[in-house]
């Protein structure tokens, strides 16, 4: 099977970078607390952990968003929706619109900052929601509209 046709918005790279920075800074916070709580005179352990943190964080913040952007793709037809996501661990999901139960448009604080939105399509299976992150807001609205119309036309038992 070929890849889904559309890429997500390029601003998604920015969104993922901000999200990665948040994670990395929380870890830094933990280290700062450790620095002040630790009574031992030797600081070498702190410097080693700090160096490891710095290298891994830079790699994560720089690499992850770009890698994700190259992987994340989506496509919706009149009868089905098809997504591809992940970076180290990648997955493709595909579901017929006749089995769709709900279609959600979500905008978290970070994605609002970048005027992005994510669209989640749930089916009757607890294991099978499809989420497309980092869509341009107008594109996401349009997609929700299109999916809703097609899903209504494709009415089935959903189970």
């Amino acid at each position: 099977m070929r890849e889904p046709a559309h890429r997500v918005s390029t601003r998604a790279i920015g969104m993922w970078t901000v999200e990665a920075l948040t994670v990395v800074l929380v870890l830094l916070g933990g280290q700062v607390i450790w620095w002040f709580v630790d009574d031992r005179p030797s600081r070498s352990a702190h410097w080693i952990v700090g160096a490891v943190w710095l290298v891994l964080s830079i790699a994560y913040v720089v690499v992850m968003p770009r890698w994700r952007f190259r992987v994340h793709r989506w496509e919706a037809t009149e009868h089905a929706i098809y997504t591809q996501s992940g970076w180290l661990r990648q997955e493709r999901r595909i579901a017929p619109l006749s089995r769709v139960q709900t279609i959600d448009l979500e905008r978290g604080p970070v994605s609002q900052l970048f005027t992005l939105a994510s669209v989640t399509v749930t089916t009757a299976s607890a294991a099978g929601p499809l989420t497309i992150h980092g869509l341009d807001l107008p594109v996401a609205r349009e997609l929700v509209e299109a999916l809703t119309t097609s899903a209504v036309r494709e009415r089935g038992d959903a189970t």
Binding site: R2, E75, R89, Q90, R93, I94, P96, S125, A127, T159
Partner: protein
């Protein structure tokens, strides 16, 4: 049928007793605490009427009716709560009778319309016959106007005939598919469920003993007696204890197990020694079967069977069992009866290839190697005895054997009506999933799976575990299966 009905009046007896039993620890604490003091206020004399009144109130305020193709349940006095469920959404109906219910001839009716706790109506309790009649009303209505689905048996059903069938519900209608053979109890200690029950029982016992341990001279003496025995006598004693616990759990759960099918295709199971449980499953909700083949049962030539269906709750453990551990021949015959597709039930499966085998063996061996490495470190650093390393060869051989068995278990096949997948070794299971029941697909690849050009193909469904996996299959084979089962889906993205 449309007027309000109440729970059975005998519940006036049951509710207070149930509440009392639930409060028993508190009551005991109060009694013990007071036994030393001279405060003689009789709390329980006040509490008892309150509990009884509570039970009466529960009975008076609970009522149900079937109207306009819906079942309505109303509860509560101040905070009135009405639950409604469309009849055509009813998926399973459970009748449970605990010991006190059985003495009074009652049964609790649980009606489930979906996968969650919220999609459930509980009528606690009705007369057993009344419960069965209600179940018949709920599951046997087959009016295509209401259900908008083809009749389960394929041929349209005469509603007049159906109505008369509901009234009398003759037993001759039911075809008995399986009855528990008492000799099957020998398989009880071989399953992990049996062992888990035994372990829980053992834990409970030892905890009890350790509390009494300091005080009771008798137990100390017994403990010394046990300690003086040879180690193999101890081992035999533990084995006997585990076996008997597992056997009693099996007997309690599965005594009198019976699986029947009525002429509309509904499956009914009935089981239990003290607490009896009857489960009815609407055939339109069945999406497949799962044949469990855990290692212990496999070595003894036994299997067990579960149904993959929508609307069974996870916390009602075991209501999806169609057959307790039983000889393989009996289980295979039963599977064919329920899923008339020989290739799916017992046919050969396609193997997943060398990459899958390498991964299975690696995963089995690496943890053992890590443990051995730690043992070596422990020996050099802390001077642990080398005797522990003596088990290394045995451990390695076992883990390689486990890995190879796990690979041999892996397999899948697509038949005209089913997708079959099998995996696991200690907990091997073969799932036969209706192709119509698959409502979506996932193709997952970890970093290492991508390098080996394999993937895990996940078929999502509304039934059972919600997803069934074909593990570590070559990537082009994964897409081939997807395309074969859902050609209209794959065709759009070719």
């Amino acid at each position: 049928m449309s007027e309000w009905r109440r729970l059975n009046a005998r519940m006036l007896l049951v509710h207070p007793i149930e509440t009392l039993v639930r409060l028993l620890p508190a009551v005991l604490v109060v009694l013990i605490a007071r036994s030393g003091s001279d405060n003689d206020a009789r709390w329980e004399l006040i509490a008892l009427p309150v509990i009884v009144a509570w039970g009466v109130l529960r009975w008076v305020t609970t009522r149900y009716r079937i109207i306009d193709g819906q079942i309505e349940l109303q509860r509560g006095l101040l905070n009135k709560q009405t639950t409604t469920a469309r009849l055509d959404k009813v998926r399973t109906v459970d009748l449970t009778a605990r010991l006190h219910h059985r003495i009074l001839g009652l049964a609790k009716v649980e009606i489930s319309t979906g996968g969650g706790q919220r999609d459930r109506l509980v009528l606690d309790s009705l007369l057993l016959d009344e419960g069965r009649r209600l179940r018949a009303e709920l599951l046997h209505r087959a009016d295509p106007e209401v259900t908008s689905m083809p009749a389960p048996t394929g041929t349209p059903i005469d509603l007049d005939e159906l109505a008369s069938g509901v009234e009398t519900a003759p037993a001759s209608d039911e075809e008995v598919l399986l009855r528990l053979d008492p000799s099957w109890i020998r398989y009880a200690p071989l399953t992990t469920t049996g062992l888990a029950t035994a372990a829980a029982g053992l834990g409970f016992l030892t905890q009890g003993f350790s509390r009494l341990g300091d005080t009771s001279e008798l137990i100390v003496e017994r403990a010394r007696w046990v300690r003086d025995l040879d180690w193999w006598v101890d081992a035999v004693l533990v084995l006997v204890l585990i076996c008997s616990l597992a056997v009693s759990a099996y007997v309690l759960t599965f005594w009198g197990f019976r699986l029947t099918r009525n002429r509309l295709g509904s499956l009914h199971t009935r089981r239990g020694l003290l607490t009896t449980r009857e489960t009815s499953i609407d055939p339109a909700r069945i999406r497949g079967i799962q044949i469990d083949e855990p290692l212990g049962l496999r070595l003894a030539g036994a299997r067990r069977l579960k149904v993959v269906t929508t609307g069974l709750l996870k916390e009602q453990g075991g209501s999806d069992w169609l057959c307790p551990p039983a000889p393989a021949a009996a289980v295979t015959a039963l599977s064919r009866e329920i899923t008339p597709d020989d290739a799916a039930v017992s046919g050969e499966l396609r193997a997943h290839g060398p990459a899958a085998r390498r991964r299975r063996v690696t995963r089995a061996v690496v943890p053992v190697l890590v443990v051995l490495a730690l043992l070596v470190v422990a020996r050099t650093v802390w001077g642990w005895s080398a005797a522990l390393l003596g088990i290394a060869p045995a451990l390695l051989v076992t883990s390689v054997a486990l890995g190879i068995d796990r690979y041999r278990s892996l397999g899948h096949v697509v038949t005209p009506r089913h997708l079959v997948t099998r995996h696991g070794s200690l907990d091997r299971q073969r799932v036969v999933l209706d192709r119509d029941g698959i409502i979506g697909w996932k193709v997952e690849q970890s970093f290492f799976q991508r390098r080996a050009a394999i993937a895990t193909l996940v078929a999502t469904t509304a039934a059972g575990r919600q997803h069934y996996d074909v593990v570590d299959v070559p990537i082009e084979e994964a897409y081939a299966v997807l395309a074969e089962v859902s050609p209209e889906l794959a065709g759009q993205f070719r």
